[in-house]
């Protein structure tokens, strides 16, 4: 047995101790290359900081119903599919209702830092409703960050309005930079009082998106670019998109999987266009990694999502419930500040601990083991604290000799839906196993007997021994156990021939 205490061990780190990757050591280092001014803006934004998403909450309000383009993965009976998962319908709010709801949520969930408008259509296709909401909120809850998402068509026209309302984060969905590719994604746009179809429409949309991106960057507004990965349509092309948007100053590029089901009645759903597998998605994200920092924890939240990423407490804030709440806004804001300060202190402590994190490879430079993907069930706070059967999604971490790295998340259906059926839902379990493809370990607080057997049979080792432990430490501990048990020995000959 090897003893490899990693955290906090006082071994002098080698000058370049295995830290070639930008994401070495801390999963939040995806932000480390950013200028201080940007980091300051994003460090407590759950959508932009992997670290923050364990602690801070966000909400969306659905005030903007109209849209001015058509995407082949969207059915306008439902919410904008750029930001939400398809097939979802949010309750449309008036700006006044949205303001009330935001203040109520911010008073009830003090971890809240961000309010976004992302639908249910395109926020800039309903500019009056969108900007009225922002204007009022920047006055009544100045500590809440505001952000907006758009397909980009009307961006150049509204950039100055966006800057005026102190919105410092904008998300643009950019699926292509080539009109020929665009025509396969966007059948039409509405532009200057006309519906324009095909390549001509796509060309205008692309031009507007790129112009909007440049104008936002020029005004110092942070821009995240979202892309929907559509296998066979834009998957290869997105590598170029990633390069271009980065060179123009977008600070994050987030590749999301196409979700296409016939039931949603979308073009892609009906025509049988498939979405990417988890492995294909990770592959593209990896390929773009050199170009740009990726945001792998994005959940494609619905247009009225409330709470921590991966959770939705929207039901607690229906209009009649808000009406019944009695809120002291001023003291709510004070309490928020206090809660945020506590979270900051916690994150600071975590960061310091990580600074002492010693890459395994520096302790055993002669050995290089292959990396291992592990799935983690968590409800937040950065620890393993969820029962396998209650997990709606798993966070995927990659452990290697150099570090533990967050690489994405896999959505699943609930394995245990309660009641008698719990435990013999063969198909759901099979779906989960498919979603965890490529993972060798699944870490959770507890797991039932039957899924345990099925996972093992599929080559995924369930592990409930690290309940309530910090995720990254637990993943590293399991990785070391695997090394110690000789499970990673097949590459033991890959020695550091060129090591100092």
């Amino acid at each position: 047995m090897m003893e490899l205490p990693v955290i906090g061990q006082s071994v002098a780190a080698p000058a370049k101790g295995g830290c070639a990757s930008s994401s070495c050591g801390s999963s939040d280092d995806q932000l480390s290359h950013l200028p201080e001014s940007i980091r300051e803006k994003v460090h407590n934004h759950p959508c932009y900081s992997e670290e923050a998403h364990h602690y801070y909450a966000r909400m969306h309000v659905a005030v903007a119903p109209a849209c001015n383009i058509q995407c082949h993965y969207c059915n306008r009976k439902y919410d904008c599919a750029n930001e939400s998962r398809p097939g979802v319908v949010s309750e449309l709010l008036t700006p006044d209702q949205a303001i009330k709801k935001t203040l109520a949520v911010a008073a009830t969930i003090p971890q809240m830092t961000v309010l976004g408008i992302a639908g249910p259509g395109d926020p800039l296709a309903s500019p009056e409703r969108t900007f009225k909401t922002f204007e009022e909120l920047s006055r009544t809850a100045p500590d809440i960050k505001l952000c907006v998402s758009t397909n980009g068509l009307m961006l150049p026209e509204y950039v100055d309005e966006i800057a005026k309302h102190n919105i410092d984060h904008v998300t643009i969905t950019i699926n292509c930079v080539d009109p020929e590719v665009g025509a396969k994604i966007y059948p039409w746009i509405f532009w200057k009082n006309k519906r324009i179809k095909g390549i001509k429409g796509a060309a205008i949309l692309i031009e507007q998106q790129q112009k909007g991106l440049e104008m936002l960057v020029a005004r110092g507004i942070l821009v995240k670019v979202n892309s929907v990965m559509i296998p066979g349509v834009n998957d290869e092309h997105l590598k170029e998109v990633s390069k271009i948007v980065k060179s123009k100053g977008a600070f994050l590029h987030n590749v999301m999987p196409l979700i296409a089901e016939a039931e949603h009645g979308t073009f892609y759903g009906i025509m049988g266009q498939r979405g990417p597998t988890s492995a294909e998605l990770r592959g593209l994200q990896d390929a773009c990694e050199g170009d740009m920092n990726m945001m792998r924890h994005c959940r494609q939240c619905r247009a009225d999502a409330v709470g921590l990423l991966g959770e939705d407490r929207g039901d607690e804030f229906s209009l009649d419930k808000i009406e019944a709440m009695n809120i002291d806004y001023a003291s709510a804001m004070e309490y928020r500040a206090q809660v945020h300060a506590e979270i900051e202190a916690k994150l600071q402590a975590k960061q310091e601990q990580k600074a002492q994190f010693v890459p395994l490879s520096s302790l055993h430079p002669q050995r290089k083991y292959r990396s291992v993907l592990m799935a983690v069930a968590t409800q937040g706070s950065g620890v393993i604290n969820q029962h396998f059967g209650h997990a709606k999604e798993f966070l995927i971490y990659e452990a290697s000799s150099d570090d533990v790295r967050f690489v994405g998340h896999s959505k699943t259906e609930l394995y245990c839906s309660g009641g008698d059926s719990c435990g013999d839902e063969e198909t759901t379990l099979q779906k989960i196993i498919r979603a965890l493809e490529g993972c060798e370990v699944v870490l959770c607080s507890k797991i039932g007997y039957e899924p345990w057997g099925a996972l093992e049979a599929a080559g995924i080792q369930p592990n409930g021994e690290h309940a309530m432990e910090p995720i990254e430490e637990a993943v590293m501990a399991v990785y070391q156990e695997m090394i110690a048990a000789g499970k990673l020995d097949e590459t033991e000959d890959v020695a550091y021939a060129h090591a100092s």
């Binding site: 109209a66 259509g121 059948p187 979308t266 009906i270």
Partner: protein
């Protein structure tokens, strides 16, 4: 002469602000066009604005009662394909 919004409308609000004649109003269960006010955009635009932005095929009829955007014209989904996939889903 007037256009008409029928039950396929999904209440997306896109059309109403574009109407040069303020003929479109929110109503239940769906938006409506006041036939006395609708000018078919004559004199203002070459294309009827509501029908040019409406994303839903079949939601708007012209003065002859014909769909301005018939099935397949906006989504690109061939109507036969739509029918067969929907039949498949129902059969499940």
């Amino acid at each position: 002469m007037a256009l008409q919004i029928i039950s396929a409308c999904v209440n997306c609000w896109a059309c109403a602000p574009l109407c040069p004649s303020q003929a479109i109003y929110e109503a239940s269960p769906h938006f409506l066009i006041d036939p006395k006010k609708c000018t078919e955009c004559d004199g203002d635009f070459t294309e009827t604005q509501c029908a040019s932005i409406c994303p839903i095929e079949g939601a708007i009829l012209n003065s002859q009662g014909m769909e301005v955007n018939p099935a397949g014209s906006l989504t690109g989904i061939p109507p036969e394909k739509w029918q067969s996939v929907m039949a498949e889903i129902r059969a499940r």
